[in-house]
Symmetry: C2
Subunit: 330 residues, 2 copies
């Protein structure tokens, strides 16, 4: 979008930085592991149509969304070939009027009725595969598929999010529990039919799903980084040290610039004490000075990005691009 080059030092802080080389590495690594339609990138992690265009250029032209706004934004950006809203909605009218191929997850009679009433034409049956969240009981998937077809909806298949598994540090346990979750999903698929068996983030061990809805891989965060996956942390928050005392330093990156549900962010060579609305108080190993720029590594990418208006793409100390976070809100 913006092509004016400027120095990272000139950015107003806090600013969300994306390391250009790390993103390229991540895009390439994933496109190699899961080429084309094997990956249905989840845009909730970055909420940026500019970055979605990069994922499309890497070969993935089917997308996963968590909100109606995300679906609308991708459609408006010319990325509407095949959009899956992997979430239940009760008012689907905004989806039905889009000039795009839109498929929505359903897991109950009410959500099927809502999809049909809203003018949506295609659905997947969302199946609970172990995470206590959305999705029907596997035994109920066939009945719901029949109900959807009776409402003249095309049933494209099933989806199931093994979110209770994706964060497990023990790879053997991750493989075993993924296998169990996918057996539930395949049993449901046998009753439902359709081409799609769509699953979540266990990209490295899921040999059962036809497609994987991975999102965090492209930016990464400290939580996923612990799993030893072949992706690099590309996202940090640039902050300015605004106050220094003998015992600690304070920078201008706080609760409104960071998703905090996974705990405190980290700072290289420093111990983070706590965050306030617009501050982070930390103990640096080497004394800091007022005006110093630091990088803050968020624990959880998705709710961090959702606070910011844009992502600044940096290469070394140069800002080489700026991507609007244009899929925020609902």
């Amino acid at each position: 979008m913006t092509t004016t080059r400027r120095h990272v030092e000139d950015l107003q802080t806090p600013a969300l930085l994306v390391d250009a080389a790390a993103v390229e590495h991540n895009l390439t690594a994933m496109a190699t592991a899961l080429p084309g339609r094997r990956l249905r990138p989840h845009v909730k992690a970055h909420k940026s149509t500019a970055l979605a265009h990069r994922q499309a250029a890497a070969g993935h032209r089917t997308f996963t969304c968590a909100t109606i706004r995300e679906v609308e934004g991708l459609a408006a950006a010319g990325l509407g070939d095949d959009l899956l809203l992997a979430n239940e909605v009760l008012d689907a009218r905004r989806l039905g009027r889009l000039d795009a191929r839109v498929t929505v997850a359903v897991d109950s009679e009410a959500t099927i009725v809502a999809a049909a009433a809203g003018g949506v034409r295609e659905v997947v049956i969302d199946v609970n595969v172990g995470l206590p969240r959305c999705g029907c009981h596997p035994d109920d998937a066939g009945r719901l598929a029949d109900l959807a077809r009776s409402r003249r909806l095309t049933v494209r298949g099933v989806m199931g999010y093994e979110g209770h598994v994706v964060g497990l540090a023990d790879r053997a346990a991750r493989v075993q529990l993924t296998a169990h979750a996918m057996q539930l999903l395949l049993a449901a698929h046998a009753a439902v039919g359709g081409d799609l068996v769509s699953a979540g983030g266990t990209y490295d061990c899921n040999v059962w799903a036809t497609e994987i809805q991975a999102g965090s891989y492209v930016l990464m965060d400290t939580a996923y980084a612990r799993l030893g996956l072949p992706f690099r942390q590309a996202l940090s928050v640039l902050a300015t040290v605004i106050s220094v005392s003998p015992a600690y330093a304070v920078a201008d990156c706080g609760l409104k610039a960071l998703g905090m549900d996974h705990g405190n962010p980290t700072i290289d060579a420093a111990e983070v004490l706590f965050c306030s609305d617009e501050h982070i108080t930390f103990v640096p190993e080497v004394p800091s000075r007022v005006g110093e720029r630091i990088r803050v590594w968020p624990a959880h990418v998705d709710p961090t990005v959702a606070y910011h208006e844009r992502l600044y793409v940096v290469s070394g100390d140069q800002v080489v691009d700026a991507w609007a976070v244009d899929l925020r809100g609902w």
Copy 2:
């Protein structure tokens, strides 16, 4: 702003709701306790010029800000009589060019130099009164005031935020620790001079400060509500139940609609299990149904509001106004 009346049921969810009667109660209760300039409302809690106008109408025309964007927004909204940026900045140029009375907090030579270079004319010396965050050592306040005056800055006085005290549930401890913090601030003030002794949120027991920078009182949250203050919780998130299983229900209000640093939000007559990006999983006392509307009470107002584009003002089941959250970002 918007005056079209509509039913709460017609709102897209998640939606930030403000109870009109509770806000009126809170505005009146605070204006009675701290009339006029005794209160310098902190806009960081609500980030809305519409709500700042209500605070001005209640008699408070001096404001506290945490970010440059908040200062700019209040100035543009005609509320620039006396704006205090109660935070340190290294680049003050955006402040210096505003058509408003702008005072900025300084706690170091670097921030004083930045204020002068940016064209700011007035400062307060920010004094550390116990919270490990910004603010100079009390013994250093006089020297910094002299330095500021040597840079042709007007020093209006001191500020100190007793943030380590405001959340204490034991009122006696709150009073005692506030007294100690304010003794530090008054000692600094004796060396600094000026009219202002500006302090933070201990509105009910601070008899030393000339003004209080309170913000959360107008909307309140579950964390402050525990203190037994005479303010009502005015802010909730309206959500829709999108999936129900025998053991729990799921609504569409997640990590991107809630500040999570104070922990999970609450739902009346339900136990909250966990939040995901766009979901809250909870166990209701009475079985829920898909499509049911529920109210989610955030644990921390400030970072919750910062995720949303607008506040819907409701009276009973009618939406009577919509206030833009127009002071977000930096």
